[in-house]
């Protein structure tokens, strides 16, 4: 690999002025080159899969009602787009995910803070929340349908339940296990309560919060599809059921690919947030 052979070393190694020993500075390839390389490498497998898929679909090995060609999937997408429904399906699903994710994450962070910082609150809430977490996601669907109706509220609530637990279960223990030495340090310098929280505990759990948000987002899409499969008239989950019932395998493939793209897209958005926050708060 000769991509970074020409990269000049920009920073002089730092020298520990007490011992004179050099402090190693990790040299990385320039960010733009790395980005190009990552994009090219990342695209290799999807392109190979599409090529293989096209080859199998046109070879006659698999009948077309079981495996559509990539082009017919594209055509199905264009068709839905031209009827003006593709955008609607995507928009309503994305809206449900973002709303539910936001609500679930905020409630999750709030409860995790209480349970993570107070031993008494932990004894009070942790067993109940643990039991609720053990309930399989789909078990909530009929109940939410009865209480909230088969409308937006019940779907957003289901997504929020899905997003809540990864945040709660990751952040609460992270807060509980913040280095006790650092907490004592803060206390010994006169910090307590909210000031101590913002000096030590919150920055210490930033990495845990971010990774929990990424998990929560993936879970939000999962719960969205679960909710939409079981009762919706619009949305990508509905499109899946509808396509299955009408034998539209091209639309099925289209929807699965769209879910992959949307999920990856929202995950990358959180990834950008992660890079920004870790630059500020990472160690």
């Amino acid at each position: 690999m000769s991509l970074n052979s020409g990269t000049p070393v920009l920073e002089r190694p730092l020298v520990d002025d007490a011992t004179g020993a050099p402090v190693p500075v990790t040299s990385e390839p320039r960010p733009r080159r790395r980005w190009v390389r990552a994009t090219v490498l990342g695209a290799v497998i999807p392109i190979a899969v599409i090529v293989l898929w096209q080859a199998i679909a046109t070879s006659g090995l698999v009948p077309s009602y079981r495996l559509p060609t990539p082009l017919s999937v594209w055509a199905a997408g264009v068709d839905l787009y031209e009827r003006g429904v593709l955008y609607q399906h995507i928009a309503i699903s994305t809206q449900r995910v973002l709303l539910g994710f936001g609500i679930g994450a905020i409630v999750g962070l709030a409860l995790a803070s209480i349970v993570g910082l107070s031993a008494r609150a932990s004894e009070l809430f942790a067993p109940t929340l643990g039991a609720l977490r053990a309930v399989p996601s789909l078990a909530w669907v009929p109940l939410l349908g009865l209480y909230l109706g088969l409308n937006e509220d019940s779907k957003v609530a289901l997504v929020a339940i899905g997003a809540f637990f990864p945040v709660y279960t990751t952040v609460a223990p992270a807060l509980r296990h913040v280095d006790a030495h650092l907490v004592e340090l803060g206390r010994s310098y006169g910090y307590s309560g909210p000031a101590l929280l913002s000096l030590v505990q919150l920055p210490a759990v930033v990495p845990a919060v971010i990774s929990s948000l990424r998990l929560a987002l993936a879970q939000a899409w999962l719960f969205l599809v679960a909710g939409e499969l079981l009762g919706a008239s619009l949305g990508l989950g509905f499109l899946l059921v509808d396509s299955q019932q009408n034998g539209r395998i091209d639309r099925l493939f289209l929807t699965i690919i769209l879910l992959g793209i949307l999920g990856k897209g929202t995950d990358s958005a959180v990834g950008l947030l992660e890079r920004f926050l870790l630059k500020r708060w990472g160690s």
Partner: protein, 270 residues
Amino acid sequence: MSSSSLRSSTPADALSVSIRELSRRFGDRVVLNELSLEIAAGEIVALIGPSGCGKSTLLRHIGGLDSPTGGSIAIGGAPVTGLDARSAIAFQEPRLLPWRSITRNVEVGLPRGKRTSADRDRVAELLELVKLSSSAHLRPREISGGMAQRVSLARALARRPGVLLLDEPFGALDALTRLSMQDLLLDLHAAEPATIVIVTHDVDEALYLADRVILLGAIDPTESAAQASIRSTVVVPGLRPRDRGSGDLAELRAELLEGLGVPTHHLSAR
């Protein structure tokens, strides 16, 4: 080192420490047993003793991090009743916040409140004092252990403490770095004359730095190492900086090591 630029700031006055019949129990275990000790303002006192003898516990009590089950402590004549802004503690581990730069870690030691330009000057001055000005922007993971301990010292000095409490601050450093840190500590003491109480395992370090060395441990040898009281006090002769190889110190060194239960095979010149 030159400290002319440092005299512009007004260091807080060093404060005396007065410990009266201090006792601390953890359940049934007596860690400190009616210990009394007077430390003069500006003095450097080293506490040594076997592991688990209560050295660190005593230090934490002076800093108000722990409260006694009996007796009392006063700093500058006024009692210690909890965390106290008159003292500052530096721990064995540097305990730097990994997400903050060196400068921002030293700022933790400043009194809380809005940061003023005087605060910034103070932090810059302290970083110069501990010879870290050129590393001020780095994060803790980018610096060595000795540098991290210097940050920890600068942070403690940022509150202009009357009493500086050091809990084995150089214990985790390599031997050479430790020697240079000891000289740095004496420079700091000259520039910002606080009273210093230092816990150490290192008899040589105690004799090199301190005016008095206090040997802690059980007075009755049949007792466990706990139940610590003051077993002996050694007044170290001579002015700093001391000759590390001085014969007087060798005598005291042997005496202290014997006190710690380490045979020295030292042939007394007396």
